[in-house]
């Protein structure tokens, strides 16, 4: 276990896992956010389909439908450019963890309707902006995004981050000299 922790810490120190996670998760969320922003009413309709918020009074559902795509875009920018990394990663992680059970629930309802031969054949527009998707593929994508956003939250590295460049700090966040971190 100690050897494994040392290996993970050394890998983290290189900054490569974090950089990959930032670009992958940030890039994906930027793309999805822009798709949602190109047709805000489509996203509003999809949010309504999940029946999480009351249709009347409408302010909460309308406000969140308006705000969430911008939140995704701003968090994506934060990850890509490397500022507010933990906050952006945690926000994306929270959205994914909130959304995935809803997705599974809706897929189970679709499957129970008998319209699909198997659970992985269930296909519907989940409101992500990409139109209809197969549920298993969507869940696999979300699992990868969850892993990526966990890396951005837990990583100690600040390799190629605007944060570290602006503060002129070494590219670790634990306050120790780079050689001592993760030892």
């Amino acid at each position: 276990m100690q050897v494994r922790r040392g290996l993970l810490a050394r890998l983290d120190e290189t900054g490569i896992p974090l950089l990959i996670a930032r670009l992958a998760v940030g890039g994906m969320f930027a793309y999805l956010a822009l798709l949602k922003l190109s047709n805000p009413f489509e996203f509003l309709k999809q949010v309504n389909q999940y029946q999480i918020f009351p249709a009347d009074p409408p302010q909460l559902m309308n406000f969140l439908s308006l705000t969430l795509p911008y939140l995704e875009l701003i968090c994506a920018a934060a990850l890509i450019f490397g500022f507010f990394l933990r906050g952006a990663g945690a926000t994306i992680l929270a959205m994914l963890l909130f959304f995935c059970p809803l997705l599974v629930h809706r897929a189970m309802l679709e499957y129970a309707s008998g319209a699909f031969p198997g659970f992985c054949w269930v296909k519907f527009d989940c409101g992500c902006g990409t139109g209809e998707v197969f549920i298993c593929r969507k869940l696999a994508e979300n699992a990868a995004l969850i892993v990526g956003s966990l890396i951005t939250v837990l990583s100690q590295s600040r390799f190629l981050c605007l944060e570290s460049l602006l503060r002129r700090r070494p590219h670790t966040t634990n306050g120790l000299e780079p050689a001592m971190s993760g030892a």
Partner: protein, 214 residues
Amino acid sequence: MQVLLRTLGQMIVLFAVASAVALTANELRRGGREPGRNGAAAGARPSNWIDINRAYFARRAPAPLQPDPASPATAPGHAPNAVAIEEPPASVPYRVVDLGTVRDAVHDPLYEVGQIVLIDARDDAAYKAGRIPGAIQLDYYRLEGYIERVMDAALAAQQVIVYCNGGRCEDSLLVCQELELRGIPRTAIALFKDGWEAWKAADLPIESGPAREQ
């Protein structure tokens, strides 16, 4: 603990910034102007402005439809004008018409003179890409650009048939509610539930491009 508080603080800042940007962008959309579309007056509101206070999906449950034996329009099995009707199921308070009925309505002389009106409840892109010939557009989410023209046509007609994509699409039902709220009698409103997908699948004639000037 410090890291946790800092992370929470960053999350709050990100949400606050996103909210501010979203509300500002929405107001900018509202404040901008686009040329009139589909015959709507110039200066109609831009297409993507979300009215925060509008209950887009609230179902205003109308009273159940009571058949009136004295009125031929609502007598069961009687087809008013040229459009056959079915008794509405409990979950849909409007008459539901099928593909054959809509096809017959499009060929009816009453359709040519505006006594039967077909309303397409889809957005601009879908409407221009292809629609039932002669259908006029009413985008439920961008009412201001369309409602005046549609109400003029609907008030002058004996029968209004509304459709959207079909399947899970609920926009046609929402448009039916909106028309009723604005004064079109429920007996004059019919819902083509199978919608555009059914029309297209049957290989029937379609129209595309901007709406014809009337």
